[in-house]
């Protein structure tokens, strides 16, 4: 009886999924739905007139997707469609006075056209106050790419008005765990940044952890327990080919892709306790970077690829340290509070995002590395796994709502917040993709 469970034959079941580019409907297990809970104080008023479909059958409402994108950024407020007096398609049909009366500062108009079996979307951004056309663009795609076309419109408009590159065309990777017959099914998924078009990447009866995007956005590295032990894998999103990168005794965790895509920082405990290593992905050469009896984990790269930030409890509590790769010199970065972990840097290289514990509650906080100012961004509980958007405007993190893991977003100035609740299962470990085009 004592050790009977030891050698029971374990059958681990995994499913690897290749993403293909032909559109077929897929079962959505836990598609995300957005609810904006807090917006910006002075949002820009914008009207997105329904795009004229000109008889082309499309399954998605492009203008509604653009509206939802802009609203989610927190920097815009949209004019309700039912208040609009007209739905112009061409610049000549626009009566600026009508839109000014609705309080709109900007107007987006456009229409679809058939272009050799593809869909051509022409759209314009108009400045209502100045009564002039800001730009006019044309994009073409297949029917399966309608959402991509809509996100492109949002990206163009966002960039024009805010001066910041939009992230509406980016994607999210995340892990879900669903309890089924008293056993968990773990899934690694990828979706659009708004949670739509969820796609399964990997399914397993054993835990999946720590997804990390390649800088090109075409591959994920992650930890899978499918062999009965944690191991690091890399997997192409298109095609689904995967390679097991590590198989050491002990921890094989926290993979983090270098900015140039050639290396992976990771954690191994094969030499006795968790240390940071570098794996050269071309030569497969492994080099050890830290040498300390304490826990060293959660490496992340500085944008220049010359340093790593990591979590270590070498000072007694988990704090963030910086490691210069060339010299292997280690320097402590965080001092406020008795728990700062899982570092990541915003693209500016100056804003450090951490999981920070204050009076026994875990929050996401930023630390300005120049001024030393710390800002708590979230007030939910058990917040973890922050991931910064490639434009540095927002971050998404995992938290708990009514006992369930959900994803939530907050702007780096804490002014804008929204939830991405899942319909089924526990959602965790979001990873925001890099810019994809």
């Amino acid at each position: 009886m004592l050790f009977r469970s030891l050698m029971t034959t374990k059958t681990f079941h995994i499913i690897v999924v290749a993403m293909v580019l032909v559109f077929t409907p897929v079962a959505a297990w836990a598609e995300l739905v957005i609810r904006v809970t807090q917006g910006n104080d002075k949002p820009t008023m914008i009207a997105v007139a329904p795009m004229s479909t000109n008889g082309i059958q499309v399954l998605e409402d492009i203008s509604a997707i653009v509206e939802s994108d802009l609203l989610r950024s927190g920097l815009f407020k949209t004019i309700p469609r039912q208040n609009m007096l007209a739905f112009p398609q061409n610049i000549d049909d626009v009566y600026y006075r009508d839109w000014r009366l609705l309080g709109s500062e900007y107007l987006i108009i456009g229409g679809l056209k058939d272009s050799e079996g593809k869909i051509e979307l022409s759209f314009s951004l108009l400045d209502v106050t100045a009564q002039k056309t800001v730009f006019k663009h044309r994009v073409t795609g297949t029917e399966a790419q309608i959402r991509d076309l809509a996100h492109l419109v949002s990206d163009k408009v966002y960039k024009e008005i805010t001066g910041i590159r939009g992230v509406f065309s980016t994607r999210l990777a995340y892990v879900t765990a669903e309890l089924n017959d008293n056993k968990f099914i773990y899934r690694l998924n990828v979706s659009d940044s708004d949670g739509a078009r969820e796609q399964l990447v990997l399914e397993s009866t054993q835990p999946i952890m720590s997804p990390s995007w390649s800088p090109k956005g075409d591959e994920l590295a992650y930890v899978s327990f499918e062999t009965g032990r944690p191991a690091i894998w890399r997997q192409r999103l298109v095609g689904g080919q995967r390679i097991q990168l590590t198989n050491f005794s002990g921890l094989n965790g926290a993979p983090s892709w270098s900015p140039d895509g050639n290396k992976l920082a990771l954690v191994l405990s094969k030499d006795g306790n968790p240390e940071i290593y570098l794996l050269d992905l071309t030569s497969n050469k492994l080099s050890r970077l830290t040498r300390h009896f304490a826990i060293d984990t959660e490496p992340t790269w500085t944008p220049d690829g010359k340093n790593l930030l990591f979590t270590s409890d070498r000072g007694g509590t988990p704090q963030i340290y910086k490691l210069t790769i060339a010299s292997k010199a280690v320097e402590r970065i965080t001092f406020k509070g008795n728990y700062n972990a899982r570092p990541s840097l915003a693209p500016d290289g100056r804003t450090l995002v951490v999981v920070h514990r204050e009076s026994n509650v875990f929050h996401i906080a930023t630390l300005d590395l120049k001024t030393g100012r710390m800002l708590e961004l979230t007030e939910t509980r058990l917040d973890e796994s922050p991931t910064v958007a490639p434009n540095g405007a927002m971050l998404i993190y995992a938290t708990k709502q009514a006992g369930r893991g959900v994803l939530s977003a907050v702007s780096l100035d804490a002014g804008v917040k929204y939830f991405l609740p899942a319909k089924i299962g526990d959602v965790r470990e979001p990873a925001w993709s890099p810019f994809l085009r």
Partner: protein
């Protein structure tokens, strides 16, 4: 979910297009029997039963705890865990076989840090058993961090059940 399409066919198709439209064609794989030592296990268990019946009272072995609990953010073995581990160690030395120590953490704190914490707890149990004379080569420590809770919910009671090492 079992659609058979060759991967080469898939990638060739995929490379030919630029924008990612979205769908999935799953390729199913079943990894089975990673440690298929069933036959050996049966033999050992029959042997051990014989020993138990003839030489030892059944109760102490049957009742020895196989789960050992820890304090928050700590990997220090509790005093109350020692007696059971001494029993396990003695039994293992008489009946040598490989064991797994699965270390776990509660949900608080970051996931990879908790993986490290789960391993530290597993190592604490391992070190104690090695001190009792068990060969280190018989013990494998696997950390599951906070990935496999024993008790659901976000209460002190649930958390204390989850900070554990399971001997298997």
């Amino acid at each position: 979910m079992n659609i058979s399409v060759t991967k080469t066919g898939l990638s060739a198709l995929c490379l030919s297009l630029v924008l990612a439209g979205c769908s999935s064609t799953p390729v199913e794989e079943t990894m089975s029997d990673i440690e298929d030592t069933t036959v050996q296990t049966v033999e050992v268990e029959m042997e051990s039963e014989a020993i138990v019946v003839e030489e030892m009272p059944v109760e102490p072995i049957m009742s020895a705890a196989t789960v050992f609990y820890f304090d928050f953010d700590k990997a220090l073995l509790k005093t109350e865990s020692r007696a059971a581990l001494v029993e396990h160690a003695a039994y293992l030395m008489d009946n040598p076989r490989s064991i797994r120590l699965e270390g776990h953490a509660d949900e608080r704190g970051t996931r990879e840090y908790n993986m490290a914490l789960g391993e530290s707890r597993g190592n604490a149990v391992k070190e104690f058993m090695v001190l009792q004379g068990v060969s280190p080569s018989m013990i494998e420590v696997i950390s599951y961090g906070e990935e496999q809770a024993a008790s659901f919910g976000s209460s002190d009671a649930a958390w204390s059940m989850n900070r554990r090492v399971e001997l298997k």
